[in-house]
Amino acid sequence: MQNNIEIKGKQMVIDKKTLKNYGGSVHYWRSRPEDWEKILEEVKKLGINLITTYIPWEIHEVKENVFDFGGSKNVDAFLSLCSKKGFNIMVRPGPQINSEMTWFGFPERILENPDLQAKNPFGGKVILTQVPKPIPALSYASPEFFKEVETWYDAICPILKNHLFPRGNIIGVQVDNELGYFFNVNPYTCDYSTASIELYRRFIYEKYGTLENLNKIYKCNYSNFHEIVPPVRFEGTSKNDLPYYLDWIEYREYYLIHSLEILSNLLKDRGIDVPIYHNYPHPLGPGGATGAPSTPFNIPKLEEKIDFVGFDIYSRKELYDHVKTISSYVSGCSRYPFIPEFITGVWPWYINPGDVEDEIFDTKAVLMHGIKGFNRYMIVDRNKWLGSPINREGIKNKKPYELHNKVQDLLNKLPIENMEKKCDIMLLTNRDYDRLEAATALIPVYGDFLDPILGFSEYPNTSYISNNSFDFKEPIQINKTHWFEEYYNYLSSEGYTFEIGDSELTVSKMKEYKIVIISTFEYLSEELTRKLIEYVKDGGNLIIGPNVPSFNELMTPSNDFKNFIESIKKIDICSENGMEIVGTKYFDNRSNGSIILVPDLKTIQKNLSNIFKELDVYKINKKPKQVDAILYESVNGENILFLCNPSSETVDTEVILSEKSISCYEIWDNIEYKLYKGVLRLNLEPYTIKIFDIKVN
């Protein structure tokens, strides 16, 4: 509880009222103050009730430690005007804000200072090719850097303090922006600065405690923690080599969390007492990645330090699975599933930009998959931004404005923030193996805002990771992706609603689901093993495979999982026709929990279809397979059904609803659909999401 603002149950609540946080970004310094009133009026008419703005250090610091808050830089006046107009406000004072600014929001002197720069493995700079100027990545481990940030926070926080809820309307403060090594997600790019190496050693010390422990695992003979040097490239050949590299990957998560904790504490020390949040970068950004976003980002761990964390989304409708994955992952992991930057218009160097049709499709898609709030970036055009519903002078951009107006009407009508997805399954991305995938990257790939120089994504993937098996039966770093995708595709096509989670989540979070699915190979971290066993001991149904792990993350033998399995009853799983044994179920009589071991990727369907029937797992009966469906329920008995055709072809669609369903009204197009004995039939156009209000007798 901070002031009267609570983040709980996937909601932001003020005075027991759940907020509808569907906001939009307006950059005060990029408009004339005389236009602010008109711009905000148009934003209000659009139906938006939350304004967000960056506050750029780069603009306000006119010379070292001298700040200008006058004229178009009068953020105090802008915030007052927003409050006067009745908007809630979220502010984003950086220090890094990108914001399509020349120096990413920093004064030029900060970027120029070599002592503040991140370092590559050779000790040189790390340059991000961005527009209009390439910039060096900064080190977020440097104490000098934080001292500089303090001067900025000292200047801006007194202004913000006057506007914090309940005195003013600021209900959230975003700390920094898209922190991720300046898009150098690839592990062997940075940060090898002196400060970062010191922090790495501290991390190693915290993890191992003694040199004896460390030397045993690393097969080394260090006499001091200060002798340890981080890996600059992957050179492992056996499983015993892996902990050294895996620690570097884990450290890179720690680095981001550590620096965001310092920054958020600096804000708190200066009186910022509303929720503090962060936005991890859009994982399809320059370079692109398609899987669930894991290392170096870590929502569950970061939410131990700040109030909530989201991922930014900028996608065209053809990338539906990406939007689904990110939304579902944020919904599954965050205590408040909020998208801090959600595509509305584009920056000019976004190659082949989409349009408002993509934005409307994406809006429905994120709601469908569990997002409870977002910030449209940008709701108003300005320098280096195009295609928003309102231009920089407050004039409507006709087509985007009309469509966004319609979608805001929908959002204001739809009680989605108070509804819950009907869902029994959590599909966990296994961070142990995501870290292995990152650790085995063979080449550095640096962030690039134009197009990656050799076409690689900065997110390690099969095109440039090692395919070595490291004494295991198979290359886990490659095959873990096949398993995740197979589960994802099976559940989606069969109509089993699922949420994507992260193995870093707590057991209590896992317990919210009847079924937890996670791929397990020959090693698994001890902490995760403990959590999964606890989940089963508490009555959960755990699906694992292809192996029962027998090593821990330090690659030392660990039989905890095996011992637990052997302590409970073993039952063979037969195929649907009963002719074939396809897997094994281990049943815990005391808790009624179970473990299902799927030994082979090809037997997922055979294993799960019977098990899911037996456990009465919720599913939506729909066809064809490519149509995606999600049902939301409210405590008042309201039902909202989302139906999505993510393909480029029109499909004849059929959904069998409860026989108690008596009417079916499509909210976006305002059309009543007839039901025949609870069956809904319709043609779904390409890239369409329909939203039905289902009334039940």
């Binding site: 120029e112 390439p134 190659i351 195009l386 550095p444 090692s466 395919n467």
Partner: protein, 274 residues
């Protein structure tokens, strides 16, 4: 070429998208086979779309130049490019490329240097067919060179350039207005407002020029043409020759027509007589 903080305002998103599709060529739009090796030992072979790659004959990289060509020839039906990387060379490459950066350096200068540096690393880093510098990252099909020459040698400081392509008589397919500051840097990037042209661009293009003069600053060079003309020019082997011919026969309207450009075309005509 871009100023430190260019104004990029009122860009029409459709026109901007069309400009990208006409001129930009990202490496990711091409099918690529990538081979990563270390001192000849193959560590990873992949196809950008996950297609099968025929490399059974390849046990080790002995001659990167020859091996790259062979991979390309054997997989021609499934690939546009073969990228051969010695991982150590790539690590060194990035460090060297980053070392040239200064805050004063323009984006295009930095990126072009970065691409050219790849050629220096040949054959430890190969993009085939090459040269690597002409395939890497984001290529602009000559647009960057053309704008660079125009800004440096054709128009004056404190002026604007407009380039406008029409889909039919009146609909703008794409346009680009560039403002050049006193240091010959581009400080303004924007689009032509479609509302200025309603019936026939050949009769109304001067309204665009008046609008630019009023809204920004004086226009030094205006180029107007139909998309069909541009398509033909871009397909032609000699783009320069077909452009000059199109100007001479008024398929392309150039107005204002700077003297420096007029003299280039006059020289071209005389050269034609020889």
């Amino acid at each position: 070429m871009l100023s430190k903080n260019p104004l990029m305002i009122d860009l029409n998103i459709n026109q901007w998208r069309n400009l990208h599709s006409l001129f930009l060529e990202p490496i990711r739009s091409k099918e690529r086979i990538t081979v990563i090796h270390e001192k000849g030992k193959i560590l990873n072979i992949s196809h950008s779309l996950g297609k099968a790659v025929e490399t059974d004959y390849l046990q080790k990289i002995i001659d990167p130049e020859y091996d790259t060509k062979i991979i390309y020839e054997k997989n021609k039906q499934n690939t546009d490019l073969v990228i051969m990387i010695d991982r150590l060379a790539l690590e060194k490459y990035y460090n060297e490329a980053f070392s040239y950066w200064t805050t004063e350096m323009d984006l295009d200068e930095y990126v072009i240097n970065m691409y050219k540096l790849l050629d220096k690393y040949y054959p430890d880093i190969i993009i085939y067919p090459g040269p690597s510098s002409k395939q890497a990252g984001l290529q602009s099909k000559g647009l960057h060179d053309m704008i660079f020459k125009v800004v440096q040698f054709v128009v004056s400081s404190g002026s604007t350039i407009v380039f406008c392509i029409f889909e039919d008589n009146s609909k703008i397919f794409t346009s680009l207005i560039l403002g050049i500051d006193d240091h010959k840097k581009i400080s303004l990037v924007t689009s032509v407002n479609q509302e200025i042209i309603s019936n026939d661009w050949r009769k109304e293009y001067s309204n665009v020029l008046s609008w630019i003069d009023e809204s920004f600053w004086e226009c030094d060079l205006g180029i107007f043409m139909n998309k069909s003309t541009l398509d033909r020019i871009m397909k032609n082997q000699s783009m320069e020759e077909s452009t000059f011919n199109a100007i001479l026969n008024r398929e392309i309207i150039v107005d204002p027509f700077p003297k420096s450009l007029q003299s280039i075309i006059k020289k071209y005509k005389l050269h034609d007589l020889t």
